[in-house]
Symmetry: C2
Subunit: 418 residues, 2 copies
Amino acid sequence: MTAVPGLDEDMEQGLAEPVGPDGTAGPAVRRARAWLSRAAEPGSVAFWRFVEDAGPVQAVRRLRAGRAPDAVRALVGARAEQDASLADLLRAQRCGARLVVPEDDEWPGHPLHCLTLATGREPDDPRHHPARTVSPVPPVALWVRGPARLDELAERSVAVVGARASTAYGEHVAAELGHQLGQRGWTVVSGGAFGIDAAAHRGALAADAPTVAVLACGVDRVYPAAHGALFHRIAESGLLVSEWPPGAAPHRHRFLVRNRLIAALTRGTVVVEAAARSGAQATARRAQRLGKQVMVVPGPVTSAMSVGCHELLRDTGLGAVLVAGAAHVAEAVGRLGEDLADPPPRPTGARDGLSDVAVRVLDACPVRSGVSPERLARVAGCDVLDVLRVLPVLQLADLVECTDAGWRLARAPSAGRR
Amino acid sequence: MTAVPGLDEDMEQGLAEPVGPDGTAGPAVRRARAWLSRAAEPGSVAFWRFVEDAGPVQAVRRLRAGRAPDAVRALVGARAEQDASLADLLRAQRCGARLVVPEDDEWPGHPLHCLTLATGREPDDPRHHPARTVSPVPPVALWVRGPARLDELAERSVAVVGARASTAYGEHVAAELGHQLGQRGWTVVSGGAFGIDAAAHRGALAADAPTVAVLACGVDRVYPAAHGALFHRIAESGLLVSEWPPGAAPHRHRFLVRNRLIAALTRGTVVVEAAARSGAQATARRAQRLGKQVMVVPGPVTSAMSVGCHELLRDTGLGAVLVAGAAHVAEAVGRLGEDLADPPPRPTGARDGLSDVAVRVLDACPVRSGVSPERLARVAGCDVLDVLRVLPVLQLADLVECTDAGWRLARAPSAGRR
């Protein structure tokens, strides 16, 4: 290992490293993020902001040199002096895994943007940040194992989650849903757990569709142990994904931290079975807060494993949609224009029927601070008069809203009930 | 029958007939409405308006004399010359039935007011009136059989309807719902049909609660024929109700006309099982148009008899609430402060309309072990007499319950829609 360059030398040289011509990050950036992914437990707003502001290479240098803010140094502690970055990258390579970083083209930046936005709403003072287990912070890097491209699978994906202690009914529905979604070209994302998760993965695999398991441990580990064959099959065509470096153990709190990724990576979350006040319910509420569509499969009211599902459907603030099958799911999260060959039976998307100009203006609208019609016209590349003509239409469709500062996207433009 | 006064003489004398001191209509008004209930099929806006404007006695006189508007005369036709009013009243009497008319105190004027309002929105021109099978018109009279008072039962009632070709699951849920609603002091109203209707009636009867079957034939007839024993039991403690005079046959269209009464008489309609595009769905939509709460019991998505239920829950315009049991139903249709103050126009939250004292007593109630009213008074900072006054109200709203140890919060006081 003596021929291997030291971390600090690598960082020194990596400061001006460009992104490669193939759209992948350079080796120093990747090594920096590998180091960062082990340096602190994921889920910290302060840590992610520090990395985002400094850049990964500079962030590593400052942490190594003890020049990071106190709050960030406290998160890393003694790990600042350790370095397993190359060992982790090699260990990943040996099991067919790799590290995907935000600087890569493969990074699912579009789906994960909801986390960036949500983190932007957190206060400056780290003492007021949410606990890691509920924090909406983006990952600093993702270890992925499998042949598929993460960004492509995530682009058209749905989370299917539910109880571990599922019933035969729930497993049947989850498998059927996974199968039908796979047949329709949707990627099923789940957590690889017993019960609903496994049934959904298996249904997708039975349709020869790639599926994604987002794990709470290293992608080279099998948890639960009985899912060795399942994970192997998933990694053959789809992806195993984790924020934690190879070898990381599935600690209990990591599942909660992980859950936000399942919600964030997908267009919506389907809850198949859930007991009262269960983890699946928490995942659904997180998905809703991230602006993702929450969908719920009902069940017999006599079944304890459907109580949580019915609670979600009774929560009017959540805007959860009842889904009885893949057609309902596609209707809730599908976007028009993508499935021209196979149009859904009841296309109800809010963007349907919008004129070309209207779509352009809509796409030009910012998420947070409002802007003037003049600015929208410039961004959309059309006339101000056209903008003024289509804005009322978009407002009527609850797609945009007018604030004191000007026009912006409406809060939950894609949520729920259309 | 020669001693019996003729209809026309009776009407002549009944013109100035007052309502009796016991709050019941006089004999001429009752005979007039008996005659009217046979003269035209229920559900006609023009006919109901004619009776409403002229008054029942005058309406009969004008129809008999051929002085009614053409549109109304066309509805009555040759029946104008016939008279079975006394025979119908006698026939009713022989089977323990009676005619309840709007002039009686027993008339459920409050629940049925929604029909008056809906009819008021119909146009003047009879050519533009809705078909009788979907018309929201009030009944001109109701034949009722059984010992209970119709107005009292209707005041705190819920419709439980659903498929005739129900499953064991649906029947179990309907019976359980009927039983629990009965135990909570709610009257279950249904149509006496096979399947869900019968299960709901039976559940209520098993709780020794009166139940109401609204029939599409005379209250002296048994349809379906296999429900002779069931109808007999219903008529022992509850009521059989019909718009049609004794002996009337259960024509197919009459069920559709009848359905509006089930929706109108109750505070809300619970659909337990329904096939896709089924009659139960139509009843639910009618209930919604009448301003009544629509509630839906979900089921397995694998069951064809729950498809209609899930369609209703997916219809966001309908505002249907998912209910998994009687507690959810009571929460959706129960009214708070009914006895304390004027109920708010759309009281949805259980705490809505509670007096200040009631809220303080509610907040003083412990979650687990019950306490005495004296202790509640100390915690709430009010008089024991006040506590004793509001506790029954809170109990009725399912907010508190009385245990052996004393008063405490009811089990699921905060579930659902606040």
